[in-house]
Amino acid sequence: MRMKLTASIAGFALAAISGLAAAQTVKIGVLSTYSGPTTAQGDQLDKGVKLFMKLNGTKLPPGVKVELVVRDDGGANPDNAKRIAQELIVRDKVQFLTGVVWTPNAAAIAPLAAQAKVPFISMNAAGVAIPYSSPYFARVSFTLWQSCYPLGQWAAKKFKRAYIVVSDFVPGHEAEEAFTKGFKEGGGQIIGAVRVPLANTDFAAYMQRVKDAKPDVLFAFNPAGKQATAQMKAYADLGLDKAGIKYIGPGDLTTDEELQSMGDAAVGVMTVHHYSAAGDRPANKSFVAAYKKEFGQNLNPGFMVVGAYDGMQLIFDAINSLKGKMDADNTMAFIKSYKNPNSPRGPIAIDPDTRDIVQNEYLREVRKVGGQLANVELDTIGKMLKDPWKQFNPKK
């Protein structure tokens, strides 16, 4: 009996101590893709988180610790992502949800995060309407409207007839809509549009179709990675460049991590995007140098690395501002007024009305710099640009 009593007192004491300790440990649930056919994207996100933790992991208020709970979502799979997010919320009791490469996954998690009142920061997933589905959702990455709408406006000044080739999934459709709106408003004409299935390998047929239609400009979107490379190779292979058809699109086409494998086919491709590893800003130069030191001199950070890095920065800033006493509504209030003047991509902020990212959009061209291909930033065509889609479609 006595033994039992002592044991239970000790148990209570332990519980009290661990309860105290728990108050000082902020748990962050990170969902990324570590298995399945799309690990390359998850790997980028993971590297951004790791780099941030290595450089800034201890910059916290005294006595406060951060614990990352990392989970694999296995690719674009909303049911799976929802289940994992539920586990993170209920069992691990995370105070932040973050990561998430894929829009369908983020769209599935956002309502859940709203119910559980857990701030959910998208490091990549760019589906334009997601913020409307949860007041506890904020995004540090981008939307395709942010890059493709100004690109359409710019292109309309240079070209008359455009052909559109996009991947047949939600981001592809968003890119197509945004570009079409910008291009038509500027007086351009869309002479054809094709949606390519995500499982496609050989792009020759599509590029031949474009070539035979003789447009001035080809607007393309593929998810960052091997598809973008395959399409660009087919473009050069079939001589569309020599036929005078300019290749343009959002920065997903020429991501910095993949650019070197595209070869000379990519030279001259023009894109609009918020991040380039070749960006001429001091914050970016030190960021790229740190990345190369950590992961290899031949590697360049892509926009997902920056998304993850800035996402961690935002979470750490929130923790510091609240001194580790995390509360969902205070956190969201902090996030809504968030500004970071020194991101590697330039100044960024969160739009208080939509909790979406506000950032510069740069017009870039692929050029050879010192024997390496680089997205050279030519002009800032959108200064601290809010997501245009939400201005055309305000929440009712």
Partner: protein, 290 residues
């Protein structure tokens, strides 16, 4: 009319190039499945390995393209003999399920290994100058690389056909496919024959992986991502034949390209519909023995 004919030529050309690559990669699978009755789902691993060997030799050690391609063929063929003796041979008499489990396991290991060694990104391909650019012929442009693909694969197909139909080795292989116990009874060492044929099939896959690297990117999930296509070629063509997969690969390559060109809204759906229709018509494949 003029433009229709010229687009017809383009579609046939691109479809041919894609089909040829599919054939060179898949023919080995047809042989292992037909000849040895072994369900080798890990066949794509050999194609991927060939791609990695070729690109590493080219990018890291500056080996010229033709030599790197030969190196891919030889090294993968040799490595596959080791695998065959060590793993595959143990399961020749086992059921389909065991073979599927073993080879799926091999894919998982190969994917993880490739990721560990080469990372998740695709390997860059730098083709030699003579394979870049286009030929202009009859008012159409033909990409040099794809012309080379078609030419090289055609020579390969001819050599294979000659080997199987006109040589002693080919006669033995055909005998073993038709009736293994009888072939063994008349003194053909089928075990050695199998190892050799397996190595040839794997080597061809490696060749296909290397040749097609510019179109089918070399990255760790390659064996999974393209498995369906390899299986379609073999299933539609019929097990154990050389001609079957050839016709099937060309059919798939050309019809897939044609559908993408003229009816892009149906996308890659057509290839599956065609497979279902063909298999309903001939369940054993075009040239398979029912």
């Amino acid at each position: 009319m003029q433009s229709f004919v010229s687009s017809l030529v383009s579609v046939a050309f691109h479809g041919l190039a894609y089909g040829m690559i599919l054939y060179v990669i898949s023919v080995g699978l047809s042989v292992t499945m037909g000849l040895m009755g072994f369900v080798n789902l890990a066949h794509g691993v050999f194609a991927m390995a060939g791609g990695y060997v070729m690109l590493t030799a080219m990018n890291k050690y500056g080996v010229p393209f033709p030599l790197a391609l030969a190196l891919a063929f030889v090294s993968v063929a040799v490595a596959s003999i080791v695998l065959e003796r060590l793993l595959y041979a143990r399961l020749y008499t086992a059921g389909d399920l065991e073979q599927v489990l073993l080879t799926i396991g091999l894919i998982f290991m190969a994917v993880a290994l490739a990721r560990l060694i080469f990372g998740t990104l695709q390997q860059p391909v730098y083709l030699p100058g003579y394979l870049k650019g286009q030929f202009a012929l009859l008012g159409r442009d033909f990409p040099a690389y794809r012309v080379f693909l078609i030419g090289f694969s055609a020579v390969l197909v001819a050599a294979l056909w000659f080997g199987v139909e006109r040589t002693r080795w080919g006669a033995k292989v055909r005998a073993a496919v038709d009736n293994r116990p009888m072939a063994q009874a008349i003194g053909i060492n089928t075990s050695v024959l199998f190892s050799g044929t397996f190595a040839l099939g794997s080597g061809l896959a490696a060749l296909g992986g290397g040749l097609g690297a510019e179109i089918i990117a070399i990255q760790p999930v390659y064996p999974f991502e393209h498995l369906v296509y390899f299986l379609i070629v073999v299933a539609v063509g019929g097990l154990g034949s050389l001609r079957g997969p050839f016709v099937a690969a060309l059919l798939i390559g050309v019809s897939d390209t044609a559908c993408k060109y003229w009816l892009p809204q149906f996308g890659a759906f057509f290839i599956y519909a065609a497979t279902i229709a063909l298999l309903l018509w001939r369940p054993a494949g075009l040239f398979g023995k029912a």
